[in-house]
């Protein structure tokens, strides 16, 4: 049986709340090289990302969207990680990296929120079939 997270757990850690309330790289880019948005229709979360690519490297990145703390903090954290790295390296970022970065235990019901930004990256930057990332 799954149990509810205990009252003293750290689900909403300070730095997650911080990323939620003060998102990094938030906004839009003019004339981005890549721009892609995904939503999670089941809960209404939306995340979009704009990329500027120079010599195969993610030179600049912004995200926009709306939704729960998990999806928005996850997007903020992901953009921090993506900024300045080669696209090829970005390609290798996976589920576990994203969940590891969040550093909290995420219940099955919320895992789609946490992974929505990664889906934006994969589908937007590589045209991967969305569902393969689920």
């Amino acid at each position: 049986m799954s149990t509810p997270p205990s009252a003293d757990d750290q689900f909403y850690r300070e730095y997650i709340l911080d990323h939620y309330k003060n998102p990094r790289n938030y906004g839009r880019l003019d004339h981005p090289d890549i721009s892609h948005e995904e939503d999670n229709p089941l809960c209404g979360d939306v995340v979009g990302m704009d990329f500027r690519i120079k010599d195969g490297v993610i030179d600049d990145i912004r995200f926009h969207g709306r939704g729960c703390a998990i999806s928005q903090a996850s997007a903020s954290l992901l953009t921090e990680r993506l900024k300045g790295i080669p696209l090829d390296d970005a390609k290798r970022i996976n589920k576990d990296d994203v969940l590891g970065e969040l550093g909290i235990e995420i219940s099955p019901a919320r895992i789609k929120c946490a992974l929505l930004p990664l889906k934006v990256l994969k589908v937007g930057a590589y045209g991967l079939a969305a569902e393969d990332e689920e």
Partner: protein
């Protein structure tokens, strides 16, 4: 006096302090219901109809007894008008296929409402596309109530079908069904009422209502999953082609063709959800025992209390009409806190809260919100659970300060 504590003792799931505030989604089931199912499984488990031995007769009797209980529960004229389905969704789809495909013609108008559940929208969208019909949606006003003026205007266009919910699952709005059905019938429309949030919570009299179809789900009224009801006026059901085909809905099958069984079995193909229908019968008995007027009064009391309690919380927006015109459903939003985050925090306090679009995306779009948090109540809900919800909300506000 309605003794909610006594009622709760029939629900083992509450033994560990769970505050279940998601009954509009699915209700809990009392021992009496699961006990009736277990009795079937352990004493007379067998298939129904055309059986030649006593346990199958018993199963058939119990299965058909539920039909009479349901008939009486909604005051239908005959058990022939009571069709078992998996739930409201299948019931509406049955009508969309069997009645809709044959009767809706190119250019016909279907009138729905923006308040409706997806199950009462998408089947009609598919039908409209298949048959070339048009759909128009009745809008809501700022209090979340259907705009009756607009409804009347749409009726002037002589819609073929009008379908709307008795009670909105997302806002709790109780629609003026009597007036709406009467007006739609006067305009010559066939009328379906989605009673998923109606029948479980108040006395329903389909003859008095005058609708052609009334659909509801057993699992929202203390019954098990897997069994629900389509009520249809006999005249219409007689004229309709079957929906699903197979064992039990036929009279004769020959290579040259097939003749169908009488009502209601014409619409019940294949092995039915026998245990579930028997469980549903026990649920109706249970509700009858409580008295639907008492059920309504109890829910109203809890809803009033919740409305008041939540109104007092700063940064909380309530959606929908005032408590006097709403059922036991409260949808709301918190400034700066997404409903999902609230639900996760409430879950830590063992408070079960729904967060999302409640299968009513057109309504969410209309309200301009992606999702809401929703608390909903039933026969077993305590005011104390409302207080616990308020506590969770304040905790969320503290975390997200």
């Amino acid at each position: 006096m309605y003794d909610v504590k006594a009622v709760r003792r029939d629900f083992p799931i509450f033994d560990n302090g769970l505050a279940y505030l998601d009954s509009a989604n699915t209700s809990q089931r009392p021992r009496q219901v699961t006990g009736a199912m277990m009795e079937y499984f352990e004493k007379f488990n067998s298939n129904i109809h055309r059986a030649a031995y006593h346990i199958a007769e018993e199963a058939t009797d119990r299965y058909e007894a539920t039909r009479e209980k349901i008939r009486a529960f909604i005051n239908a004229a005959s058990t022939k008008e009571i069709i078992y389905t998996r739930g409201t969704t299948e019931a509406i789809n049955l009508v969309a296929y069997s009645w809709g495909r044959a009767n809706v013609k190119p250019g016909d108008l279907i009138v729905l409402t923006i308040l409706d559940h997806h199950s009462n929208i998408v089947p009609w969208q598919i039908l409209a596309t298949a048959n070339g019909a048009n759909i128009e949606y009745v809008d809501i006003d700022d209090r979340g109530e259907l705009r009756q003026d607009q409804f009347r205007e749409l009726l002037e266009k002589q819609p073929k079908l009008v379908s709307f919910s008795h009670v909105s699952n997302a806002l709790g709005t109780i629609n003026p069904v009597h007036e709406m059905v009467a007006a739609a019938k006067a305009a010559g429309a066939t009328v379906l009422v989605d009673g998923a949030q109606g029948a479980p919570h108040q006395r329903v009299d389909v003859r008095d209502l005058g609708c052609d179809f009334y659909a509801f789900s057993g699992h929202k009224m203390l019954g098990p999953t897997g069994a629900g009801i389509l009520y249809g006026r006999r005249e219409l059901l007689e004229a309709m082609d079957p929906f699903l085909a197979g064992g039990d809905m036929i009279k004769t099958v020959r290579v040259e063709g097939t003749t169908y069984h009488d009502l209601p079995w014409k619409f019940e193909a294949g092995t039915q959800a026998i245990a579930e229908v028997i469980g549903l019968g026990a649920a109706v008995d249970y509700l009858d025992g409580l008295g639907m007027d008492n059920v309504l009064a109890h829910e109203r009391e809890v809803t009033d209390y919740a409305y008041e309690t939540l109104s007092d919380i700063e940064g909380l927006t309530l959606f929908g009409p005032p408590p006097s015109r709403r059922a036991g459903v409260i949808s709301f939003a918190l400034d700066g806190i997404h409903p999902h985050d609230l639900a996760t925090i409430a879950d830590r306090d063992q408070v079960c809260l729904r967060a999302g679009h409640h299968c009513a995306m057109p309504l969410m779009t209309r309200l301009g919100v992606p999702a809401t948090a929703r608390a909903s109540f039933y026969v077993y809900t305590l005011k104390d659970e409302v207080d616990r919800l308020a506590g969770s909300i304040k905790e969320a506000q503290r975390i997200f300060k």
